[in-house]
C-alpha cells in the first residue's frame, strides 16, 4: 500500500480545494447545460414541432435541393456541402465563394451557410435556425462568452483543465480510504459529514465519467489553440496547411477545368452507389467540388453504423462527369490511429453511440456531477464557518455561498422557464429568434440569481429553486400540447419519439424533483448547524 505523508496529503487536499472552489460555478454551468445537450436534437424537434421520422441523407432528394438553391444565385464553380450534424428535418448547406469569375458572375460573391428543410426546401439562416437545443449546447462550452476573440472557449478549456487537476488530486486525497468511504453515508451526522459523504460517494461513482469528460472536454475545446503553436513553429516551420493535412483536417482541392459540364448529372446516384457499395455505412455529408464544372467531383463521407463499429471514417470520391470512383477510404478496415483516437474521444464525449438509454444514463451522471460540485462548495463553506475564523472572512465565505448556490441552482428554473416561454411566445423563425432565446434565458436566470441571493438563505435557494423549476417543468408538456396539439398521447400513438421524449423528460423529472423538494426540511437541531446554511439559525 502506498504511504502518503501528512505533508503530501495536506498539500494535495489544499490544491484540490482551491482549484475546485475557483472553477465550481462555471463547471456547474458546463455540466448542467452539457447534460441537456445530450438531447439537443430531440429538444430542437420538440421546439419546432418537426418530428424526425426519415432524415437520413440517402432519403433526401439532392437534385431537388440543388434546383432550389439554383434559384436566385449562380452555383457554377462553387463547392457545395450538405451535412447532417444532427438528427432533424433540416440539413446544413455550405456554399463556398465561386472559384471562377466569369463574365456573368461579376461583383462581390461570398460563400454562405444556411439550413434547408428536407421536406419543403425552405431555407433558414443561422439566427432563424436558432433553438433552445443549440443555445444550451453552446452554453456548455461558453460560446456566449466569446466577447473577445474566443475568450469563452478559452475559459471553458481552462476550467476543464483544472477540472482534470481537481479529479486527479481528489482521487489521490481519498486514495487511502477510497473503498471504505464509498460505503459511508451518515444522514444523521452533521452537515459537514453529509456533504463529505455525498461528495466522496458520488465522486467515486462518477469518477470514470468525470475523468473522461475532463480529458475529452479539454481536448475538444482548446487542444488546437493551446498545443498547436509550438508544433507549428518547430515541427512545420509555420506551414499551417501541412499540419492540418497531417492531422487529417485539411480540405481537398480540385482544379477548375473552367468549362461547363455538358448534360444533366443525377446527384442522388452518388449516394445510392455509396449505399450499395458499403452496407452499414452511415452517410454524414455529401460534398460537391466545382459544381457544374467539367472537373466536378463528389465526395460522400460518413462512418460505420455505431451498431457495427465504434470508430472508423470512410469516404468515396466520384468523378462528377463519368461517375467512376477515383478515391476510396474504407471505413471498416485499416482505421488510422488519428481517426481512431479522434473517433473515441468524440464518441465518449457526445455519448451518441448507444441509443437513447445510454444518453439517459449519461444525463443522470452529468446531473450527479453537478451534485458533486455543489456538495464540494458546501463542504468548503461548512468547514470554514468556525468561531476561530475571522469574522471578515466568514462574511465573505457566506456571501460566496449564497451567490454560488444562487447561480448554480437557478439554472434549473431558468431552463424550465425558457422551454415554457419559447413554446408559448416565440413562434417566428426569423433572425429575432436567436435574440429572443438569449433574452428569455439570461433574464430569467438573472432574475432567479438576484432573488435567491437577496434572500441570503441557502436552504431557501435549494428548496424553492427545485420547486419553482418543477412547477414550470410540469407545465412544459402541457404548453406543448396546447400550442402544437402534440399531447403526450398523440406523439406516443404517432411514433414521434423525439418530441415524446422531451415531454416525458419534463414530466417525470419535474414530478421527481417536486416530491424530493417538498420533503426538504430545515433541520435546526442538527449538530453544529452551520450558520451559513440559514439566517434563522443565526437568530435562534
Amino acid at each position: 500500500m502506498m504511504k502518503m505523508s501528512n505533508r503530501v496529503f495536506n498539500i494535495l487536499f489544499h490544491t484540490h480545494t482551491i482549484s475546485g472552489i475557483v472553477i465550481s460555478a462555471v463547471l456547474y454551468v458546463i455540466f448542467f447545460a452539457g447534460s441537456f445537450s445530450f438531447f439537443r436534437d430531440e429538444i430542437i424537434s420538440w421546439e419546432r414541432n418537426e418530428p424526425v421520422l426519415e432524415s437520413n441523407l440517402p432519403d433526401l432528394d439532392l437534385n431537388a435541393m440543388l434546383d432550389t438553391l439554383q434559384q436566385g444565385q449562380d452555383l457554377y464553380g462553387r463547392d457545395i456541402t450538405f451535412s447532417k450534424y444532427l438528427e432533424g428535418q433540416r440539413i446544413a448547406v455550405n456554399l463556398s465563394a465561386p472559384k471562377a469569375t466569369t463574365g456573368e458572375q461579376k461583383g462581390r460573391k461570398r460563400g454562405s451557410y444556411y439550413y434547408m428543410n428536407i421536406d419543403d426546401f425552405k431555407t433558414y439562416t443561422y439566427a432563424s435556425n436558432y433553438s433552445i437545443g443549440e443555445f444550451l449546447y453552446r452554453l456548455h462550452f461558453l460560446a456566449q462568452l466569446n466577447l473577445y476573440g474566443r475568450s469563452g472557449y478559452l475559459i471553458a478549456g481552462i476550467v476543464s483543465f483544472f477540472f482534470l487537476f481537481a479529479v486527479i488530486t481528489g482521487v489521490i486525497v481519498h486514495w487511502k480510504k477510497i473503498i471504505s468511504s464509498f460505503y459511508v453515508f451518515r444522514p444523521k451526522a452533521s452537515w459537514k459529514n453529509i456533504w463529505t459523504d455525498a461528495h466522496t460517494a458520488l465522486g467515486i461513482l462518477g469518477l470514470p465519467y468525470q475523468f473522461v469528460y475532463a480529458v475529452t472536454g479539454v481536448f475538444l475545446i482548446i487542444s488546437t489553440t493551446v498545443m498547436s503553436p509550438p508544433v507549428l513553429s518547430f515541427l512545420y516551420e509555420g506551414d499551417t496547411q501541412k499540419m492540418y493535412d497531417d492531422l487529417g483536417l485539411g480540405n481537398k482541392e480540385f482544379p477548375m477545368a473552367m468549362a461547363k459540364l455538358e448534360g444533366e448529372v443525377d446527384f442522388n446516384r452518388f449516394v445510392e452507389t455509396t449505399q450499395s457499395y458499403w452496407s452499414d455505412f452511415y452517410i454524414k455529408s455529401v460534398k460537391i467540388y466545382n459544381y457544374g464544372d467539367a472537373n466536378m467531383h463528389v465526395a460522400v463521407e460518413g462512418h460505420p453504423e455505431y451498431s457495427r463499429d465504434f470508430i472508423g471514417e470512410g469516404e468515396l470520391v466520384f468523378n462528377g462527369k463519368s461517375g467512376e470512383i477515383i478515391h476510396e477510404k474504407n471505413p471498416f478496415e485499416n482505421t488510422s490511429y488519428i481517426d481512431g483516437a479522434t473517433g473515441v474521444l468524440y464518441r465518449l464525449h457526445f455519448g451518441d453511440f448507444g441509443g437513447t438509454g445510454l444518453r439517459v444514463v449519461y444525463f443522470i451522471l452529468g446531473i450527479a456531477s453537478c451534485f458533486v460540485i455543489l456538495s464540494g462548495v458546501l463542504i468548503w463553506l461548512v468547514a470554514r464557518d468556525k468561531k476561530n475564523v475571522e469574522e471578515r472572512k466568514r462574511k465573505f465565505n457566506r456571501w460566496l455561498g449564497w451567490v454560488y448556490l444562487a447561480i448554480c441552482l437557478s439554472m434549473f428554473p431558468a431552463t424550465a422557464f425558457t422551454f415554457l416561454a419559447v413554446k408559448l411566445f416565440v413562434h417566428e423563425f426569423d433572425a429575432s429568434r436567436m435574440t429572443s432565446i438569449y433574452q428569455i434565458f439570461f433574464y430569467a436566470w438573472l432574475f432567479f440569481i438576484v432573488l435567491f441571493t437577496a434572500k441570503r438563505d441557502n436552504f431557501f435557494t435549494n428548496k424553492y429553486s427545485l420547486i419553482i423549476g418543477a412547477v414550470l417543468g410540469v407545465l412544459v408538456p402541457v404548453a406543448n400540447g396546447i400550442i402544437s396539439g402534440n399531447w403526450i398521447w398523440v406523439t406516443y400513438s404517432r411514433g414521434y419519439n423525439d418530441i415524446l421524449l422531451i415531454d416525458i423528460f419534463w414530466l417525470i423529472g419535474s414530478l421527481l424533483t417536486f416530491s424530493i423538494a417538498i420533503t426538504l426540511k430545515r433541520d435546526e437541531k442538527r449538530k453544529a448547524a452551520p450558520r451559513a446554511m440559514s439566517r434563522k439559525a443565526k437568530v435562534a
Binding site: 481536448f219 498545443m227 508544433v231 515541427l235 483516437a341
Partner: protein, 99 residues
C-alpha cells in the same frame, strides 16, 4: 476540515515559483517531450497523442510542482528536462527531418 496550514507554502516567491513551474514549466516539458518523439516516431500520430495525453502529463507535472519543497528547484529540473528533449529534437531534425 481545511488543510493543515503548517504543511502549506507561505512565502510568496515560493508559491510563485511552484505555480509558474507547474503551469509554464510543465507545458514546456510536455511540448518538448512530444516534439522530440515526433522526430523519431510517426510525427502525425505523436501530435495527435499530444492533443489529449499531453493534458494528462501536464496536470501530473503541475501536481508534482506543488509537492516539491523548493519551487525554484522544480523550475531548474523542468528546464533541464526541456533542454534534453530539445537536444533530441535537434538531433532528430538532422537525421529524421519531417518530409
Amino acid at each position: 476540515m481545511p488543510a493543515n496550514k503548517k504543511y502549506l507554502t507561505k512565502s510568496f516567491s515560493q508559491r510563485f515559483a511552484k505555480i509558474s513551474a507547474g503551469i509554464l514549466g510543465g507545458y514546456m516539458v510536455t511540448m518538448s517531450l512530444h516534439l522530440a518523439l515526433a522526430y523519431w516516431l510517426n510525427h502525425a500520430n505523436v501530435i495527435m497523442t499530444l492533443r489529449f495525453v499531453g493534458f494528462i502529463i501536464w496536470v501530473a507535472l503541475l501536481i508534482i510542482a506543488f509537492l516539491v519543497k523548493n519551487g525554484w528547484k522544480t523550475w531548474g529540473i523542468y528546464l533541464a528536462i526541456t533542454f534534453v528533449f530539445a537536444l533530441i529534437m535537434y538531433v532528430g531534425k538532422i537525421y529524421h527531418p519531417i518530409p
